[in-house]
Symmetry: C2
Subunit: 440 residues, 2 copies
């Protein structure tokens, strides 16, 4: 008997009809002879409605109480889902984060899982029940308070349960058919990826792919959990996210014709050279102009930035002009943190000795990800050529072992995405079907 | 320092504005030097909305999951209330039923409290915090499952907390100014009662007064908790519900002019003769016609009724006609249970030997309640005279030591109420102000 963990996001349980459909799907998995554990998010817009209420009663809601409030959302969806399953004639039991043994630190709003003790879940499974667990929430042993895991928390709940219960697979149900070579809303000919390594998935998620949250992928990678990202609207196979250092998971075999055959690859490719292309319009660029090119200045500047808690992404330092002894340092960061960091840097301007600050929130970032680029020369050249031929100017470049990122003007990013997608042979023969939706 | 328990119902926390107003009120009690514990219901229509959802996903929702679902309601209201208090600069902490140590049996949907262990509440109070507790909910130690207390559960939560924490008073905030001599919506000159014994309150509640639930009054009486029923819309003193066998509580003194001086009372009255008049249109009458007047027949019939679980109220058996040796037995019960009991009785007709069943759902019940009637003759006579003079026919009569109930046609019950209210000198000089609202 296999143990399957399934995660359903808010858009999959948005109303009574959706809940009944999801219940049928869960029962099918049980009838197929599997033990089934389900992590579920709050229904549709519940979280946003609760957040609105909180801000109506308090300008800065107390974090402990915010977690208490938000945790009501999954309590509703999980109880309804369990009822719907029971009405189909199957035993089902819902459990809150604390009942499920989801133990976290005490950081309200973005708690980290420190232990998972699914004793009650194991008991319920042994008694033949389908187990429904509230996603997104946990509790702290010391304060005995309820905590929430922050954005993408339900994905993380599912992966953590899969690891703790030694599940065979963790199925992440979503409103798209799986992971695509690019966002199908931007690139209609984006192709569904059948298999992708967790490392590549991590780079895609970190660079703007919204289907999976970085944190859940990281957790899955660290604990050897195989993910299956698939649609809750059909029964198609989705995308298997696996850890290639393990034994190959019992996922669906790769359909031969569907593997990527990039132009420029020679002979037998062990894995696709490029897994996908992601874009991100949520970042801004700060340039610190005229920094004295002497040791310690960059460190001084980034210490100031670090103290703000901002998440900086790409950093580029140009060579200094010999005549002036000054250099420019640019970095990207979420637009939401822009003003905070500018203020902190201005306060240090005199001490740091730089000339000026430039702020640019009209940038777009494109990231090309693929484990295959480790062993394939010419990826950068092909990328830059494709952009050049489309008349798109590159403003910043940053690379990792399996990723190349470039910054362009925001209004050229969608053109950039399409030409790169085509240049690397990722286009599918048919256009993808897109559903709208959100999740947490 | 006094310890006050306050209970706010759903209509008092129906939206963000109401929650902020209630928060201010709680803070005032804290600023006045009291320790404050608050039991709160779910916001306005939340419970009904959750019930609707449950019935959309499952024809007969599983009771365990229904409790899990409904308990989300107070989780939302209590967290919002705690946030609102914190934003006024006071420490506040919300606790679920299980965190508050509200231990119940395992009867989902109508659990009974078996123990209250408010360890965390006492700790929070000792640290100077205002404590907010989810009304209506508890948990069972054996199953470790969440339970709910059923209708009026939040009142019961408040009273149970007051008893366990040895509170000085338990304030029940509602949408009316207190307990009235009758329902102000039906009798505009109904007068607010300043003080009433728990015994009288129990009879009023059992006979249709909606402000307090029987169960909470019973609990208060058994544990010597003094209740103060008052409006959440103003600062007026409400009604003190006290247990006269205790030392008199430190409630407001009775304003001399406000005590009832019924016509026909002689000299010094120790307590008002009549506390109030309640009416109830929710019952129906079943008459078992032609029961053989031999020992054991009534017992046989009521054994059948008891097995249905119906709550029967008044029972009247007429003397048998000597010529036939047959008698009629009538009883009242909630209309909602009428068909169930009729079906059960029909199945027993042959065995019991009765002739026929009559069902009448067009009845109204009026109950006159007052501890003073114990020592005052003539109450029945005055009641029957008042009804006779108004041309209202009495169909059934039932009495207890401090209550007389009569059944009339439903369409005459409001007239009956007004003439009786006037006859016993209960009318006030001014009309009461009525707010709309519901609670749980």
């Amino acid at each position: 008997m296999s143990l399957i963990v399934q995660k359903f996001g808010g858009s999959s349980v948005a109303n009574a009809e959706s809940i009944k459909r999801v219940a049928k799907r869960i029962v099918e998995a049980r009838k197929a002879g599997n033990e089934v554990v389900v992590a579920v998010s709050a229904m549709g817009d519940t979280t946003d409605e609760l957040l609105d209420l909180a801000h109506e009663v308090a300008p800065i809601p107390a974090p402990r109480e915010m977690d208490m409030l938000l945790s009501a959302g999954e309590r509703i969806s999980m109880a309804l889902l369990a009822m719907a399953i029971e009405s189909l004639g199957h035993d089902a039991r819902s459990f809150t984060g604390s009942q499920a043994g989801m133990i976290t630190d005490a950081t309200h709003g973005s708690a980290r899982i420190v232990d998972v003790t699914p004793v009650r879940l194991r008991e319920a499974l042994d008694e033949g029940a389908i187990v429904i667990v509230a996603g997104f929430q946990g509790f702290n042993r010391d304060t005995k308070d309820i905590t929430t895991l922050g954005r993408g928390g339900s994905d993380t709940t599912a992966v953590a349960l899969a690891a703790a219960l030694n599940a065979d697979v963790c199925e992440i149900y979503t409103d798209v058919d799986g992971i695509f070579t690019s966002d199908p809303r931007l690139v209609p000919r984006a192709r569904k990826i059948d298999r992708i390594t967790s490392e590549e998935m991590l780079e895609l998620a970190a660079n703007g792919a919204k289907v999976l949250y970085i944190r859940a992928v990281e957790y899955a990678r660290r604990h050897g959990v195989t993910l299956h990202v698939r649609s809750s609207f059909n029964n198609n196979e989705g995308t298997i996210v696996y850890n290639p250092t393990e034994t190959e998971p019992n996922g669906p075999a790769v359909v031969p014709g569907s593997s990527v055959t990039p132009s420029g690859s020679e002979g037998l490719v062990e894995e696709p050279m490029i897994a996908g292309v992601a874009t991100d319009l949520s970042e801004a660029k700060i340039t610190v102009v005229g920094v004295p090119d002497i040791p310690g200045k960059a460190a001084q500047i980034f210490t100031v930035v670090a103290k703000t808690g901002a998440n900086i992404d790409m950093i580029v330092q140009n060579v200094s002009a010999a005549s002036t002894g000054l250099t420019d340092i640019s970095f990207t960061l979420p637009k939401t943190e822009g003003q905070l960091v500018l203020t902190a840097l201005r306060a240090e301007q005199e001490d740091s000795g730089f000339k000026a600050l430039q702020y640019d929130d009209q940038i777009g970032k494109l990231a090309l990800v693929g484990a295959g680029m480790r062993t394939n020369a010419g990826v950068s050249a092909k990328l830059f050529t494709a952009l050049y031929e489309a008349g798109i100017n590159i403003e910043m470049i940053s690379t990792s072992e399996i990723r190349i990122s470039v910054v362009t003007r925001a209004d050229t990013i969608n053109d950039a995405l399409r030409v790169v997608h085509t240049a690397f042979g990722l286009d599918a023969d048919v256009e993808a079907v897109v559903h709208a939706g959100t999740g947490r």
